[in-house]
Structure formats: C-alpha cells, structure tokens
Point group: C2
Chain length 373, copies 2
Amino acid sequence: MHRVIISGIGAEIPEPVITNEELVASFNSWVDTENARRADTGEPLLQKSDSDFIVHASGVKSRHVIERDGILDPTRMSPRIPARPDDALSLEAEFGIASAKKALAHAGVDGSDIDLVICSASHHQRPYPAIAIEMQEALGTKGAGFDMGLGCSSAAAALHVAVNLVRAGAHKRILVSTPEIITGHLNFRDRQTHFIFGDASVAMVVEGLAQGEKRPGRFEVLDTRTWTQMSNNIRTNLGYHTRTGQDDPYMINLEGNLIKQVGNKVFKEVTVAGQKFIVEFLAEHGLTPEGIRRFWLHQANARMNAMILKLSFGHDVDHDRAPMVLERLGNTAGAGAIVALSENHADMKAGDFGLICAFGAGYSIGGALLRML
Amino acid sequence: MHRVIISGIGAEIPEPVITNEELVASFNSWVDTENARRADTGEPLLQKSDSDFIVHASGVKSRHVIERDGILDPTRMSPRIPARPDDALSLEAEFGIASAKKALAHAGVDGSDIDLVICSASHHQRPYPAIAIEMQEALGTKGAGFDMGLGCSSAAAALHVAVNLVRAGAHKRILVSTPEIITGHLNFRDRQTHFIFGDASVAMVVEGLAQGEKRPGRFEVLDTRTWTQMSNNIRTNLGYHTRTGQDDPYMINLEGNLIKQVGNKVFKEVTVAGQKFIVEFLAEHGLTPEGIRRFWLHQANARMNAMILKLSFGHDVDHDRAPMVLERLGNTAGAGAIVALSENHADMKAGDFGLICAFGAGYSIGGALLRML
C-alpha cells in the first residue's frame, strides 16, 4: 500500500473581471425592460438588485470570467463564445489544460509521466468523447482518462478516487483537473444566483511516495473522505432526457433548466453538515480543528465558512487559518477550495496539517487531510 | 491490500420492444414526408432504410426501450416521457435502482451494507444533484455517491474505480450502476444510428474478500484496466456551453448536437485497438485468449465482436465462448457487456477465467479479468 502525495498544484484564473457594480447595472437594465413588458401583461414586477445586497448575501465583490462579451448585454445575459468545430480543442479541455500545465510544472513532471487524467467538474461540455481524453491527447499523457462530477465537491471527490487508485497501485501518477466554466450555465436573469459564480480551473498531480523518498514542501494525503445526502436545494435539470418531455423533442428551452438554489436552506443545512464532517473526520485521526494549521474550505459564501469554522472551533477563526478567495473570484464551484490551497500553502512548515473541505450540490462534502512533508 | 470480488450482478431490461420492421416503417414514413418537402426546396433527397440493411450493418433485430410512445410516431420520433417534478425520483435513478435491487439480492446484502454508489453511464439526466445520490437515498445506502461517464466503457471504468477503492480499503462494499437510457438522446431521423441502440440498466456489487472467506459462484476480480485515445468518430455536443454559441442562449437546438458516428472508422480502429488490448492485458497475466472460458464483450456490432475475437484467437470463436445479447437488445452502451455477463455465467466452474471488455466512445476500452471462486 503506497503513501500518496499531492506533488503539484495549479490554478488558472481567467483575466476578465466583472465587478458587482457592472453586474447590477446590467441586471437592473434588464429588469427595467422586463418590468415594462410585465406592466402590460399584469405579471408581478421583478425586484432590482444592488451591490450591497450582493456583498451582504455572499461576500463576493468581483468575479473572473472566461468571456465578458455578452454577459453584461441586457439583451443577451450570457457569455458569447462561438461554437468550435469538432476537431478543435474544446473550451473546457483548454481551460483544464491551462491549470494542468501549472500543476505538472509544480510537480516537476511531464505529461508523459501521467497515466490517468480525471476531469471532475460541476458541468461538462458534452458527455463524449470525455473531456479528460482531449486533455490526455493535448498533454501527451499515457493510460486513460474519464470524466466525473459531484457539484462543488467535484475536485475533492476526484482527489478521493485518485488517492485510492494510487494507493492500490492501479496508477502511478494521476492528474486531477477541475475546469469550472460556471458562466456558461448561469442564469444571469435570476436575482438569487446571477452574482454568485465565477470561472476558474484547478489541477493537482497525485502520486505515490517511494520508500525513503523525501518531498519537502509537498503534501502527503493522510486520508480522504466523501459524504453525500440527497437534496434538491441546489439543482439543475438540463440533460438529454429533458427533450423527451417536450412537444418539440429537437429543441430544449433552458427556462427552468439552469441552476436554481434555495439559498437559506443550503446555508443552514450544509453549515451543520460541514461542521459535523470536519469535526468527525479529524477526530478519527486523533485531531481537533485547533491542531490544523490551515483550512481550505469551499468558497461559496463568506458567512457560511465563518459559521462552519465557529461551530467547529467554538470561536471565530481568522483568514490566516482559513483563507478566502471568494471576495475576488466569486464561487468557482469545485475549483474554489483548490484555488485557496494553491494560493495559501507556501508559508506552511514540515509537519503542519491542512484540511481541504469542499461542499455543495448533492448535498455533497469531500475532505482531504494533508500534512506537509 | 484486499482481494476483491463481484458479489452481485443485476440487469434490468425494460419490457417494451421495437422490431426492425416497426422502426423502418416509421423511419420511411418520415422520409416520405421529408422528401416531399425537400422536393419543393431542391435539397438532396434522403434514402429509405430496410430491415436487411440494419441486420447486415449491426446484427440488431430488435431493441427494448423504456417508452415506445412517440418513437414510432413519424411526426415526433422521440420517446414521449412527461417531465417529473423535482421531488419525484428521476427516470435515470429509477432505472438504476431496478438493476441495483437485483444486484443487491444476488449479493445477499441490503442497501445499508453499501457505502458508495457510483452511477456511471454514457449520459446523465442532469449534472446535480448526482443521480447516484438519488439512488443512495432510495436504496438506503450509506457513505456517498458520485456520477461518472466514459461512453460505452462507463461500467468497465466504474468497475476499475470501485475495485481499487475497495482494494485500498477506502470503501467496504460499492454499488456500480449503469442505467443507459439511450433512446432519450437518439436521433431517430438519422439513418446511420437510429436503429443501433436500446435501453438497459445494469448493476454490480463490488466488495472485499475476507481472509479465508469462500464465495463459490462469485467472481474474483484479478485485475482491471482502462485505456483511452482521443477520437471524434463517436461524439455528441450537448452541454451547457452549447448555449454560449447561440443567438438565443436560453434555447438549445438539438440538431447536430445528438450522437453522431463515423461507423466505418469506428469499426476499423476500435477492432484493432480492442484486439490489442485483450491480448496484451491477458499476456501480462500469463494468459492467452484460449485460456479464457468466456468473453463478455461490448455489444455494439456483431461483426465487430467476431472480428476482434478472430484477431485475438487466430480463428473464429462461437457464442458459447463470447455470448451476444445484441440481436435481441441492440447496443445498450455501457450496460451491454454486463448484460452479457449477467445472462451467461451460471454454467461456469470454479477456477474458470472470464474477461469483461467494453469499448466505445472516446475512444475508450475497459477490461476486467475475472476468475470464478
């Protein structure tokens, strides 16, 4: 049974930024137009938004997106990204590769040293060929690839799979990639969710530690865990079968089929479940939250993370202990906790413990207990 | 490191049948209407189909489908399956559960004995909550669930993951489920692919073998392997990002976004790759094809399987050695090889070797070397 390390970590943040103010201006302009229409039909009028509400509700002040064009246009409210021909690299694979190259460089290995690519994300661009296989070809990796998904726990669940595949000796070195292009599926006309998300891609190289091998500055993965429990409070309904219920089965109306969220229920239920997960997972290793140098939590909501930590520790915890990237990036789904890890581990010392804990749609929670070598 | 067995196997075949003759009558009726329209516009006319062409091209004589209504209606050509409310069990989970219950009964365990559900299929009904989590709730399983996919190798790839998760001690008993509702995404107006597929759901229980434990009649999994290589010759393009390239990003036209296949290239390339995979995989275990009592191959095309076996053995191989369920069921994607396994293993003796080998979109190939206990 092999000891397993994360030998490389990479995060790719797209350059374009959208501030709350820009998003609110676009949203409110659309509401004006929509309400003028509704005034004629007698439908209930929509409420405008403002930046203070967004910051209070989520903590998000800006988000990075793959493509600004189209999102802020009140007549479109979706990124405008031309379709590519089948023989061109897909956007999701391209985004995954950008973070993968950084993770490979960090690990000091080439693509050809990888023997499995797992592409795990909240949404995939298509079912097949798997995005992981496109990445495999572009990176020159060996072996195989497959796609998986578990909402915002996608990277954590893939890490659980990868660590155990290496532990069992099935693969030598695995690339876990989580390219999250959330703006592609976001309903920018929904006041409750349009401001939450941003795009980001992360990757990790997972490999075995040879007998006597020293890898200072890298994390050993002591344990991983996943937990899920059914909830419709974060849900999306688009799939192939959506067509079978429609009058015209060759057309899919996305109205009602994009992400929807019952925010207050998610906040309460996932906060309680997350705290329980953290405390129990650590206790099984003879640890308490105080013994963990750093927490890389899912980046969905600033108040939610503060509450999970307060319940776990019994007191407030600062951002040195649990860094946040949410304010700048928004919720980047499965990528969030790994972006926080990527940006906040260089100061850790040998022997320091760290905990990745991602949570979200499903409900799902995924954790990994790390110790710096 | 644990020895791993498949302790339960279950297959669910929906009752409704569609014969080649029925499918051809519907298709040709649509072609008549379409060609009348095309005659007016000057577009090239479409070719009609016939049952002999279907049998020659694929070996398929009938297929079972979840819902006949709508498929044979030349004005619709898609199953008519009303959308369910979010709080109702989804069709994919329901279909997965039907086979899962058979696999649990075969293994002699309850849902509560399972600590991970993997739902691995060519297509999923939605990204989140994961279908595996719905199954988890309905079956009363513990731990967690996640969804993954790798085209027609979906069950084989999930078996690879499950076997190694158990081997590494991360889970005790895993349910691998592959509910394939292919008729939901099939373009019944495409002469090249409309006749190939049918619906089926399969499940396997994967668990460790305790020291000294005897499980006669069950298969030990000696090894598993996955292989992938990029190809667009089997491809589908529907995903959330499809909308970002469209004029109206709140509507997705499925024209061009359903499964398409370059049949002759797939036949040639996957036949060669499949034969190579089989011979090399067996050789690494000191085995030749002659030493394998039974092959459960992917059920896509009767001539393709015959060719793979002929290249592997150096001579023709009969259906006792490599049973086919394709004639009756069509290509049931990831489920096919496991349906063949489910229906064709009771006569095997202790010590007999068997090989699961699935192949398809990606390209992807997944194999599992079994020996009956």
